[in-house]
Amino acid sequence: MSSTATDIPAIRVRGAQKSYGSLQALAGVDLDIRQGEFFGLLGPNGAGKTTLISALAGLTRLTAGRISVMGHDVVNGYRDARRMLGVVPQELVFDPFFTVREMLRIQSGYFGLRNQDDWIDELLANLDLTSKATANMRALSGGMKRRVLVAQALVHKPPVIVLDEPTAGVDVELRQGLWAFIRKLNAAGHTIVLTTHYLEEAETLCNRIAMLKAGRVIELDTTANLLSRLRSHALRVSYAGPVELPAALLARKPLMEGGRYSFAFDDYAEVEPLLAALREACGVPSEIEVVKPDLEQVFVDLLKRD
């Protein structure tokens, strides 16, 4: 099929704007997500992640701009675009009238597919839900409902899968199982787009990350590049009382929070002279810590930067 040619981006966003009255949820987003990527969409609450996903899924309409999924415009080619897309919503929604299997059969039918029971069984097995196939949705725990939502999103075997905060409120063991399954899907060629608040998850799972802030993409790079480029190691020192940093140290632009100072460095050889300068100017710190770069720190730094 020409529509699955690998040069077509899994998701293409061009000039996406969305306003709710005077509130601008998306202020012009451009983004290409390639097929087979495990892509992270990060940002604080209200950054526009869910709005972007809603527009992608056809749950909301853009004020301006366009989005396509596997080359199909989500408005003009909505039937094909939606067939290509599986969405695991953020909210733990379910239909209390049906059992797990009924729900999956119905969902499959909505996508024009019948006789999907083999695939449904496989999904249930992979998501550890086989024993719950005939249980009513109401009778399931939160974690199980979450897994049914994953199954529902996958029932039509979409090449692109979007997970909006899928592990919120899911216990650790379950989270691991879920990620193992999602990784397997990614390895099988599915494009995965993930929004999450757990930055360590994005760090370990995603090969590329976009950071959203106030409806704009403020950073877009591979996870490895983001970690190395945006933030070096840091020396973090604390002082019990107030101290005044000399100009030479201020020139290193430390991050200051209360009595804590964080100096970025690229090479461990810088640490000793730095500590010596600190000791000379302000005395011995009450606490010393060397911090390796992590996505959380990158994230915090990016959000502080304007």
């Binding site: 709710y20 809603s54 899924a57 056809g58 749950l59 909301t60 309409r61 909505y78 039937r79 094909d80 939606r82 067939r83 897309l85 969405v87 919503p89 909210e91 929604v93 379910f94 239909d95 209390p96 009238f97 049906f98 009924e102 119905i106 969902q107 039918g109 909505y110 996508f111 024009g112 597919l113 019948r114 529902q152």
Partner: protein, 251 residues
């Protein structure tokens, strides 16, 4: 077509799973009306000359049940889905707004017809009435159900909360049905109220439906057909436009 059929099936399965509440309960309500009104009035009132009041009442109650249940089906399904959030399950798939409309309306008609048949069967011990013109009966039951199913979609989409939907039901649907001539022939009304009744499309649904049973009615069944058909087209266009725009569904 599979997508449309699945949505239709799901909407029918939804009410059928709680049939005690969605079918049995309205049948019982209608039969209570029948038992009480016929007990009180049967010996005192005749309609259209020689027609027994209980006999007159049965088609009215059947149609009233059809209409109310058709409305309830689409409106309650949509408001529940909106409030619990599972409306996304029907918004994410590649269903067109026309398929969406068709499935919700047909499921509403189906519930209306099931309840209507239930009321008719339950009324047999009280008044065994036949149909003079079954085609008219069918035409009005289908169109009446479709109109109320459409109104149910409109109300279900418009309402953000259960009490708004209840207001729509109690202050619009209920008065229009109760004042449509279910319980009386509008010829028994003072001239002013007769005129007012002619502005109530529900009157034409009941009157046309009743014509199918007795071959007599307050107005010509062709006029009723025109009004009912016109109302359906008018409401469908509004409803389809709401769905096309994604009003309150696809912000």
């Amino acid at each position: 077509m599979t997508a449309f059929r699945t949505l239709l099936y799901k909407e029918m399965l939804r009410f059928w799973k709680v049939a005690f509440q969605t079918v049995a309960a309205p049948v019982l309500t209608a039969i209570l009306y029948l038992a009480i009104f016929s007990h009180v009035l049967s010996d005192k009132v005749t309609v259209y000359g020689a027609l027994n009041y209980t006999h007159f009442l049965v088609p009215g109650l059947v149609m009233m049940s059809v209409l109310q249940n058709a409305f309830s089906n689409s409106s309650s399904s949509l408001i529940q889905s909106k409030i619990t959030g599972n409306i996304i399950f029907v918004l994410l798939p590649p269903l067109s707004y026309r398929e969406f409309f068709g499935a919700y309306v047909l499921a509403s008609v189906a519930r209306g017809v099931v309840v209507g048949i239930g009321v008719w069967l339950a009324s047999l011990p009280f008044a065994s009435i036949g149909m003079v013109h079954p085609v008219w009966v069918l035409a009005f039951v289908l169109m009446g159900g479709a109109i109320l199913g459409t109104l149910g979609i409109i109300a279900g989409i418009w309402a953000d909360k259960f009490d708004q939907l209840a207001a729509f039901q109690n202050f619009i649907i209920m008065p229009l049905t109760m004042l449509s001539g279910v319980f009386y022939s509008i010829h028994s009304l003072p001239a002013f109220w007769q005129t007012v009744s002619h502005f109530n499309p529900f009157f034409f649904m009941i009157d046309g439906f009743r014509f199918g049973f007795f071959g007599v009615s307050d107005v010509s069944p062709w006029l009723s057909l025109l009004v009912v058909g016109g109302s359906f087209i008018f409401l469908s266009l509004i409803c389809l436009e709401m769905l096309r725009r994604g009003y309150k569904l696809r912000g």
